[in-house]
Symmetry: none
Subunit: 358 residues, 2 copies
C-alpha cells in the first residue's frame, strides 16, 4: 500500500535512475535530478519527466558517499515536511554525521541496496534492479517511526528484501563481501597488463567472470575503500597470507598444501548464496545461429512479433571474420516455445529452449 505519492530522487546514476524507474512502475510520482545536466536529461526522459516535479514527500539521496551527509541536510532543510533516505555503500560516517542534527536525524533513515552493475550511469539503469535483492536499512538513533516506515515502503515497492543492520556491522560485513571482491577483481585485471593481446584473446568465461568488477568506476570505489579502510585492510592481510602460502607451496612443490588451500576456498564457497540469490527471473534461453550480415536480427524479430512473443533480453556472440554468429534470446517459457516453433518453420538453425544461458 502506498502511504505517500511524491518522491524525489537526487542523483541520476545507475542506482538513482533504477530507483526512479522502479518507483514509477510501482505507481509513485517520481522526479529525478542531478548536478550533471546530461545524466539528468537521460534519466528524466527514461521516466518521462518534464519539469522540476512537485514538493516531495520522500527524498532519496543517491549520490557518491562523500556528498551524502551534506545533501541530506540541504534537502531536509529545503523540504521540511519530507522524509529522507540515502542508498550509500557505507553507513558509519553517514549515520554519525546526520546524528549530529537530531531534528534531521528523526526524518532520516540510511539504507544500502545490495545490487549494482559494473557499468554505471543512467543508461545502465533498470527498474527491476532490486527485485529479490537484499536491501539493508540502518536507522539513526533518532529515526522516527514515520521515517523508518517511508524507507521500508520504498524498499518494498522495489522488491527488495529488508535486512536491519547496525552501521558498524554493515561496514564490517561489506568490507568482506563487497570491497574485497572488488579489489581482487581489479588486481587480477591489473596483473595481466603485460600479457599480449593474442593471449588475452584466448580467455574463457572464468577470467571474464572473475575480472568483471574491474570495469567498475575507479573514483567511486577508491572513495569507498578509503572510507572503510581499517576493515578492508584486515581482510587484505588474510588474503596476503593465503597468497604467500600458495606461492610457497608451488615453489616447494608441496602438492598437499596447495590442495589444502584450494579446498578451503572450495568449502567456503558453499556458504556463498547461489547465482540467483535474488529472485530468479524465470527466463528461458533460445540460441539461434545467424549469418553475420545485415537483416538477420530483423528477420528473427519479425518471427517473434508474428507469434506475439516479447523478447526480454538478448545476447549476440560472434567472431569477427567468421560467417556465423550465435544469438540467444531470453523469453518467457511459453514465448520461447512459440518462437522456437516459428523459427524452425522458417528454416533457422535454432537450439531447443533451455533454462540456463550457461
Amino acid at each position: 500500500m502506498r502511504t505517500f505519492t511524491q518522491v524525489r530522487v537526487v542523483g541520476a546514476g545507475l542506482i538513482g535512475t533504477s530507483i526512479a524507474l522502479g518507483l514509477k512502475r510501482a505507481g509513485y510520482q517520481v522526479a529525478i535530478e542531478d548536478e550533471d545536466p546530461q545524466a539528468e536529461g537521460i534519466a528524466q526522459s527514461l521516466i518521462g519527466q518534464s519539469g522540476e516535479g512537485p514538493v516531495p514527500e520522500l527524498i532519496v539521496i543517491a549520490t557518491p558517499i562523500s556528498s551524502i551527509p551534506g545533501l541530506v541536510r540541504t534537502f531536509a532543510t529545503r523540504y521540511p515536511e519530507a522524509r529522507v533516505m540515502d542508498i550509500g555503500g557505507l553507513k558509519s560516517e553517514v549515520v554519525g554525521e546526520i546524528e549530529k542534527f537530531p531534528e534531521i536525524a528523526a526524518r532520516f533513515c540510511s539504507t544500502h541496496p545490495m545490487a549494482g552493475r559494473e557499468i554505471s550511469g543512467a543508461l545502465a539503469a533498470r527498474g527491476d534492479l532490486f527485485e529479490g535483492r537484499i536491501w539493508i536499512y540502518t536507522p539513526t538513533s533518532d529515526t522516527s517511526d514515520l521515517a523508518l516506515a517511508g524507507a521500508l515502503e520504498i524498499i518494498n515497492a522495489l522488491g527488495g528484501k529488508q535486512v536491519l543492520l547496525g552501521a558498524k556491522e554493515h561496514d564490517q560485513a561489506i568490507a568482506g563481501i563487497s570491497h574485497l571482491p572488488q579489489i581482487v577483481s581489479s588486481l587480477l585485471s591489473a596483473t595481466l597488463i603485460d600479457i599480449s593481446d593474442r593471449d588475452i584473446g584466448l580467455a574463457g568465461q572464468g577470467l571474464k567472470d572473475v575480472s568483471r568488477l574491474a570495469a567498475s568506476n575507479s573514483e567511486l570505489w577508491s572513495e569507498l575503500l578509503h572510507a572503510n579502510s581499517p576493515a578492508v585492510v584486515e581482510f587484505l592481510n588474510i588474503l596476503l597470507k593465503h597468497l604467500e602460502d600458495l606461492s610457497t607451496s608451488l615453489q616447494n612443490d608441496d602438492l598437499r598444501k596447495t590442495q589444502e588451500i584450494l579446498a578451503l576456498g572450495r568449502e567456503n564457497h558453499a556458504r556463498i548464496p547461489g547465482k540467483h540469490g535474488g529472485k530468479k527471473r524465470d527466463y528461458w534461453y533460445l540460441p539461434i545461429i545467424i549469418a553475420d550480415k545485415p537483416g538477420q536480427l530483423a528477420k528473427i524479430f519479425d518471427a517473434c512479433a508474428l507469434v506475439s512473443a516479447n523478447v526480454e533480453d538478448l545476447t549476440i556472440e560472434h567472431t569477427p571474420g567468421q560467417e556465423s554468429g550465435l544469438v540467444t534470446l531470453a523469453l518467457s517459457k511459453a514465448d520461447a516455445a512459440k518462437v522456437y516453433e516459428q523459427l524452425i518453420k522458417d528454416g533457422w538453425r535454432v537450439h531447443q529452449p533451455r533454462e540456463s544461458i550457461g
Copy 2:
C-alpha cells in the same frame, strides 16, 4: 564433412562427456569409457551407448593431465590404425613426453578447449559446451597431416574456434588467463572463512561471480598449478606486489595511489574479450526508447536493414509491466550515424550515438 565415423572418448568427466554428446549430435558413432564405472555408466547412458563400441578411428583422451602421456601410448598401441588427441589443460609436458615416441607422435595432436564449468563430472556435460569457444591445438613436431586433420575435424564438429599455439606459449598464456583467475577466486573465498553466515548471506552478484571458480575441483587444479608452477608463480609475484601497494595506499590514506591501481585494472579490463568471447571492438552505442510490446524490436531492425547497418550487439533494459524500455544498439560509428538518422526520420525517441555504454 565427416572423414571418419568411429570415435572413442577416454574419460567420462565434464569435457569428455560433453565431447561425446556433441559428436554424437554431429553424426559420429561415439563410445566412451572411464576407469570409474559410475562415471562411465552415466556418460554411456547419456549418449545412449550399449556395449564397448567398435574399433575407433580417432581416440580422444579426456583425463587428468598426469595420466595423459601414458594413456595416449596405451591406446595408440592398442589401436594401431587410430589417430589420437587429448584435451589436457597444459601442453609442454604432454607434447614433450609423446615426442619421445615418434611413431605415436605422428598419429597424435594435442589440443585444449577453452571451455569448462566450475561443476565437474558427466552430469554437468552438454553437447554444445564448445560452441563458439576457442579450442587451441598444438601439434607435436611429428604430427602427420592426417592426425592434424582429425583433430581439426573434431574441433570443427563441436563448433570450436581453432587456434594454433606452441606448447610453451600455450602454458605461459594459460598461467595468466586461466590459472591466475582460479587462484584469485579460491583465495577470495578462503579469505572469507571467518565471516558470519549472516554477513555472507548479504552478498550480491559481485562476490558470487568473482568466487564462482572457487567451487572447482581442488585436486585437478592443484595438479595443473604445480605442473605449470614457474609461470604461475611469476604472475603471483606481480599480484602480490599490487596487493601490498594497495594495502599501503589504504593505510597511508593515499587516495590517488588507490585510484591509480584500480584504474590500471579498469583499463586492462577493456582488453579482456566481452562476455561471449571474440575480440572486443570499437562500437558506438545508440540508446532508443521503446514501448514494451511485441514488434518494437522488429521495427528497429527493419530500419537497420533498410540502411544496411550491421548490429554488432544489443542490450535491452526494461521492467516487466512498465510501458517503456531502453534498447541500446552497438554498431560501427558509421552505421550508428545512419541508423540514428533513419530512426529520427521514423519518429523514434533516440539518443545521439555515444562511444561508451555507461
